[in-house]
């Protein structure tokens, strides 16, 4: 026991004289999380406003109506370009996209009034494929609704013998009241114990915090490897009567504690700076963080036990931060991952940690709801340590 606490104190003493580890554990992750979360905010909270440049070569009643309809659509802004037929060459249109401000252009050709939607052409910047796709979906929906309305008008004329104007009037009135009725019924039902939708930061910070929480593994493994490489203190320690598990657990404990401090600091800063809510189960949140930090420290121990040079360890853990972060849904929300990747997520500890933190923060759940996740995390930590402590023949 004296030896165990001696190792704990020694590790703390080593850390306190090592500013690099503090920068790595406390400043770097915070900067990364701040930058990434801010950058991702628009993506997470809603769609950015889509803009489409419209070149109306038809200049008919129908084409003007279409432009008005587009302009009136939420989330879609229209800039009309007053181009002649001769201007509207493909090359000229592509030139529009070079400046990084316009990404799509709709050409309404002469003859649209007669030819209908099949004549429309949407041009897009290939560098912004998803943006163009979103515009295309919007346009398709609007045009389809318009066509449906026209169809209804013709049916109304046929059935009632009303004039075209009357028929239009009644169809749009019907559509309006249907829309109102639908608006009444379609309340947004948030599947959460919370009464508000989570903010962008509440959604992204837990993932990043977990992802960069693996820096604890980095610090542990690198410091351990340096100790083995640079000094013979390691030989001296191994020749002393302290058991391997005590030696390993003391170190894991110290670094797990650092991990807890790191994650708590991150969440508290998130609360103070970005107004993140931290859920209603603080103890469960702290326990989740403790479990995750143990996993991270155990992972560092594992890597240090498998590789025996500092550069290889640094590379392995850096890659693990990103790869496991991505697979585990810490870097990118699980829902955005391709289908084949989603089942793999469960094989990473990151998934369970992010899941637990999201249950608590985003969905406002309590301790009982995250017990399974915590169990899985502890199992990961135990497995990592068991492999790290496997019996080996020659040491050093």
């Amino acid at each position: 026991m004296v030896a165990f606490w001696a190792v704990v104190r020694k590790e703390l003493r080593l850390l306190s004289s090592d500013p690099a580890t503090f920068v790595l554990l406390f400043i770097m992750p915070f900067v990364l999380v701040a930058v990434l979360s801010t950058a991702l905010e628009p993506l997470v909270t809603g769609r950015p406003e889509l803009t489409v440049s419209v070149i109306d070569l038809d200049d008919s009643e129908a084409s003007q109506q279409l432009v008005t309809r587009l302009d009136a659509t939420d989330g879609l802004a229209v800039t009309s370009l007053d181009w002649s037929e001769a201007d509207a060459t493909d090359d000229h249109i592509y030139d529009l996209f070079g400046d990084g401000e316009r990404f799509s252009a709709l050409v309404i050709p002469a003859g649209y009034a007669e030819g209908g939607r099949q004549t429309l052409a949407l041009f897009g910047d290939p560098a912004r494929a998803s943006y163009v796709e979103a515009v295309r979906e919007q346009l398709t929906a609007i045009v389809a609704v318009d066509e449906l309305a026209e169809l209804l008008v013709s049916v109304v004329i046929e059935e009632t013998g009303a004039t075209a104007a009357e028929a239009r009037e009644s169809v749009s009135r019907a559509a309006l009241s249907a829309g109102e009725a639908a608006g009444d019924e379609l309340r947004t039902v948030v599947v959460s114990e919370r009464d508000t939708f989570p903010s962008a930061f509440e959604q992204t910070v837990p993932g990043f915090a977990v992802m960069f929480g693996l820096f604890v593994a980095f610090a542990l493994a690198i410091n351990l490897s340096l100790e083995k490489e640079e000094t013979k203190t390691w030989a001296r320690t191994l020749a002393a009567p302290i058991s391997q598990p005590a030696l390993v657990l003391a170190r894991v404990g110290v670094y797990a504690l650092l991990g807890v401090a790191q994650l708590l600091l991150m969440l508290v800063l998130g609360w103070a700076i970005w107004g993140m809510e931290l859920g209603s189960a603080p103890i469960a949140l702290v326990l989740t963080i403790v479990c995750w930090s143990f996993v991270a420290a155990a992972f560092g121990t594992l890597v240090a036990s498998l590789l025996n040079n500092t550069a290889a360890i640094a590379a392995t853990i850096s890659i693990s931060v990103i790869v496991f972060g991505a697979f585990g849904g810490a870097l990118i929300p699980i829902a955005f991952l391709p289908d084949w990747m989603q089942p793999l997520a469960r094989a990473t500890p990151q998934f369970w940690a992010v899941d637990a933190i999201q249950e608590l923060i985003v969905r406002g759940r309590g301790f009982g709801d995250v017990l399974p996740q915590l169990g899985v995390l502890l199992a990961f930590a135990a497995a990592f340590l068991a492999i790290a402590l496997r019996p080996r023949t020659a040491v050093e």
């Binding site: 001696a6 080593l14 000094t231 013979k232 020749a239 058991s243 050093e396």
Partner: protein, 329 residues
């Protein structure tokens, strides 16, 4: 253990008093055999030297004894505990002073000693007292609270390195070239203390070195190791007695053609070679016969001896004779 007990334990000899028993120890690194079937024992109170050139296998042997490496064959036992099966018991009994500095350079000397003392279960007041004692032994009392060991000179680090192995009063002390880079004054002090650890406390000491002077001055018994094998192992005087004879260097005041041939014919002289000018190297079976032969020949040929040196046999020459190599390059 008192000095008398230590001496009597040593005198008793035999299996029972051996603190360290190494038998048929083999250690391979891949295909390379670093230590090849070596055997030796060290009794309580005995200083045992392992003398050999770089790469002889000294550190490897110590590492196996210290349970840092597992033997590829043979066995090591410390006070009856097998190093392979009962490593924890062995670790409690040994103190290791590694060849390279095994210290936290960012800690103070005191913090280093505190940590290593803690590893052996020492703490509180007894530990503080013991730290004072070992600092006294290595002569670092004044420097213990210097903020960090990085600021120590090379020799001071070595002395602290030694101190860290003494804290728990080990029954077997493994010293791997502990005096490299230590100034003569501190070295003498360390020798005194090592001798006292053995003779007063009954500590068994394994001392590796490639300095013959150290081995001869400090050790009760010496094993000469080369290429992972023990070439010879015995008490120092007996080893020296194995040398074939005594070497003299003679310087004649004037040239004498007959001198060389005449000395060669004297009884007991095995060899005479001209070194340079009027100098000769003469090897005789023993010192008295050799001296008599030289003086008689000189008188007979009426030549004056300008210089006469008796080169005492040392382990360096023994090593050269046994391996055909110089101990130091």
């Amino acid at each position: 253990m008192s000095a008398q007990q230590a001496t009597s334990a040593k005198a008793a000899g035999g299996e029972s008093s051996a603190v360290l028993e190494v038998s048929g120890l083999i250690k391979r690194y891949g295909d390379f055999t670093a230590v090849n079937a070596i055997s030796f024992q060290i009794s309580a109170g005995e200083i045992f030297g392992l003398l050999g050139p770089n790469g002889a296998g000294k550190t490897t042997t110590i590492s196996v004894i210290a349970t840092l490496l597992k033997a590829g064959g043979g066995s090591v036992s410390v006070s009856g505990h097998n190093a392979r099966d009962d490593s924890m018991a062995v670790r409690k009994l040994i103190g290791l002073v590694p060849q390279d500095i095994g210290l936290y350079l960012r800690f103070s000397a005191w913090a280093n000693l505190e940590f290593f003392g803690n590893l052996y279960g020492l703490w509180g007041r007894p530990l503080r007292q013991r730290i004072e004692e070992v600092l006294e032994i290595v002569g670092l009392t004044g420097s213990a609270k210097k903020p960090i060991v990085t600021k120590f000179s090379g020799g001071m680090k070595r002395r602290l390195n030694l101190a860290a192995g003494l804290l728990h009063k080990p029954r077997l002390l493994l010293l791997d070239e502990p005096t490299v880079g230590v100034d003569p004054q501190s070295r003498n002090r360390i020798f005194e203390n090592i001798t006292s650890l053995a003779k007063d406390d009954g500590t068994a000491i394994l001392y590796t070195t490639h300095y013959v002077e150290e081995a001869e001055a400090l050790c009760d018994r010496v094993a000469i190791i080369d290429g992972g094998e023990i070439v010879v192992c015995d008490e120092v005087p007996k080893l020296l007695a194995q040398m074939p004879g005594v070497a003299f260097t003679v310087e004649l005041a004037e040239e004498s053609v007959a001198f060389e041939a005449s000395v060669a014919k004297q009884p007991g002289v095995s060899e005479i070679t001209r070194v340079d000018g009027n100098g000769y190297r003469v090897v005789a079976e023993d010192q008295e016969q050799g001296l008599a032969a030289l003086l008689a020949t000189a008188r007979e040929h009426q030549v004056t001896l300008a210089g006469l040196d008796i080169a005492k046999p040392n382990l360096e020459q023994l090593f050269l004779r046994l391996t055909g190599k110089a101990l130091r390059d």
